[in-house]
Structures are given as C-alpha cells and as structure tokens.
Assembly symmetry: C2
Homo-oligomer: 200 residues x 2
C-alpha cells in the first residue's frame, strides 16, 4: 500500500510549505491546489466556486434559520457543494491509490481513513503566524497585526467549519492526528529535514 | 547546553514508557519517580505526601470557599505544597544542568522553559488507554471499562489542575508543546525507534 501523509494546518502556520518540502525531501507526490482544478474539471463548476466551497464558507450554503418559507429555499448551492465534496473524495482516493504522496488539507485525513494515512497537524502561536503571513505577503500589502489576526481567525474558522461539516470531527483536535507539530519560532526547512527522518 | 526532552502525558497513554525507552535509545538520563524521592529528602516531607501533592489533588489544599472563618484556615498544607513545588523546581533545574535527559511530568516543561526543552505531549483515545491500563494492571485487578475510564478521567483531571495551578497554562494544550504524539494503536517500542531519529 502506498505511504500517504496528510497535513492539516492552521492558517499561517507554514503547514503548506512543510507539506511541500516534506514531499520533496521524501520523493513523494504532492497534492494541494491541483485538487481544486481536478474537482472543477470533474464537476464542470468554476474553479472559483470550487475554491469557495472547499476553502471557504460552506455554512453560508446551509442556512439554519431562513427568513422565508422552506419551499423557496434554493437548494442548488447545497447540491453543488455536495457535488464538490464527492468529486473531492473520488479524486483524493484516486491520487492516493497512484503513489506515495503528501496531501495538504481537503479533509484528506478523513477521506482516506481506511487507508490509514499518517496524519499530521501543523500549528503555531498567533504571533508567529502573523509574522509568517507578513513575510509571505505580496508587495504593497500592509496590514496591522490586528488585521492579520482577524484574517487568520476567519480562515481557521472557515477551515474548522468545513472540516467538521463533512467529517463530524473537530478540526485540530489532537486525537484526529498521529502527530501535531508546533512551528512557533521554527525554521520550516530545518524542521522538515528532521521530520522526514520519521518516514525514511 | 544539554539536550532536554520533557514528556507530558495523558494517563494510560504510554507516555512514561515512551519517555523511558526514548532516554535509553538516546543514551540520555531519565528522570521520573526519582524526583519524588529527591523532593522528599529535600523537604523532610514523607514521600507519600510529596506524591500526593505532585501527582494528586493540589486543589484540595486550596479551598476557594470555606465554610468557616478565614482565621481558622489551616495554612500548613498550603505551605507544604508550596515547599514541594519549590523543591521540585530546584531539583529539576539541577538535574537538567547535569546532562542530556528526558524528564517525565512534574511541570518540567514549564520549570525549564528558559532552557528551551523539546516538549512532547503523549496522548491516545480512551479505548486505547483503557487497554493499556488493563495490560499493565497487577494480577488480580479486575476493573470494567467504565471503572478504568473513571480512573483515567480522575488522574487526568488531577494532572491538569496541578499543571494549570503552577504554570497558569492549560495542560495538554498543543501550543505548550513542540510535538504531540498519538499512541492510539501504536506499539511504543516501534514508535520510540522512529521518534529517536528526531534527536539523532
């Protein structure tokens, strides 16, 4: 059976970089944003919409209290979100069946649970995440610490609700991962050199 | 500076065994229960009392609401508990200054925070912890799953309150550790062989 490593990560924790470098270090395939493209192709939905569902705010698609009759509730977005998740499942299973790989996000830990992937969760303290966000910001982006914190909290909330909606598990709960890695004050390349040893 | 690894662990997670084996694998000194003996010697308190304070229920020593005049509150246990913690601090700092080592429990992660120890937290799901407790039970001990669960919950609660009392941090919170390791369905000796690579 292929070796599969899944990476869940807090926004700004450097989890994506960690996953990408870990895959390179181990010679594994690496899947992240390309999954979105594949889902879009699979479902004929726009990549933008897929991104919104997968990374975004699925809750908006499922109003709990609506100020109008249920009969009028437009269920199309719900069906589309469901289609996205199903396509995601199929694609992730297909990729995991092909070769040893590292998959970042996308509930891959849950989708592949029967294959027993090695599940890593990457996290860091808020200050360290703010600094990571600032370091990777595009030129001209000048946000205050408070603004970064708001962005980080919002992204984490979206990830948590997407994850718990589809898996019925609590995102970031230690019990859902084999290993939780704190990247506070850590240099990701150095960390990856060490972590890679676990799989060599 | 010496390499210091501290291990926090949920009751029944195999954290102590993991720490002991990790120390052996790395050729590090290992400190666990011997710290209690040293504290008892240091404070002239009985080892039994020290154990009760360090592993037990410090909250009982600090009633928040007492149904009698404050004047009558017997402060001796409080002072003794304080003495235990101070002796513990001194002893742990002394041990950490002597050689590379693994220290299990005893708020060592917090006490040694300036030395930047590598802080590991070991945890597992309830069923796996119940099975570990049963496997290591003394002959004749026949507890039901429910009874083990009660014991585990009680021990964890005591550890959590001791830890948060002295450190003002949340016991088991990912952010207080470099690495959190899930031992659910894991064979500890195998796991240690892999983990040891992180330090070699």
């Amino acid at each position: 059976m292929n070796k599969i490593i899944t990476i869940g990560r807090e926004f700004g924790s450097g989890g994506r970089e960690l996953g990408r470098r870990l895959a390179r270090e181990l010679g594994f395939d690496y899947y992240d944003k390309e999954i979105l493209t594949a889902i879009a192709e699979h479902t004929s939905l726009s990549e933008e919409f897929v991104k919104e569902v997968v990374e975004g705010r699925p809750r908006q698609l499922y109003p709990i209290t609506v100020n109008r009759s249920f009969m009028y509730l437009d269920t199309q977005p719900i069906q589309q979100a469901g289609a996205v998740f199903h396509a995601q499942q199929e694609i992730i299973r297909e990729l995991a069946g092909k070769s040893d790989c590292v998959i970042v996000g996308r509930c891959a830990d849950y989708i592949l649970r029967e294959q027993k992937p090695f599940r890593i969760f990457v996290y860091a303290d808020m200050q360290s995440r703010i600094e990571r966000c600032r370091a990777r910001a595009e030129a001209g982006e000048k946000l205050t610490d408070k603004e970064y914190k708001q962005q980080i909290t919002k992204m984490d909330k979206a990830r948590a609700s997407y994850y718990s909606f589809y898996t019925d598990l609590k995102w970031g709960d230690k019990l859902n991962y084999e290993l939780c890695v704190n990247t506070t004050n850590q240099d990701i390349p150095t960390l990856v050199t060490v972590l890679a040893k676990l799989f060599q």
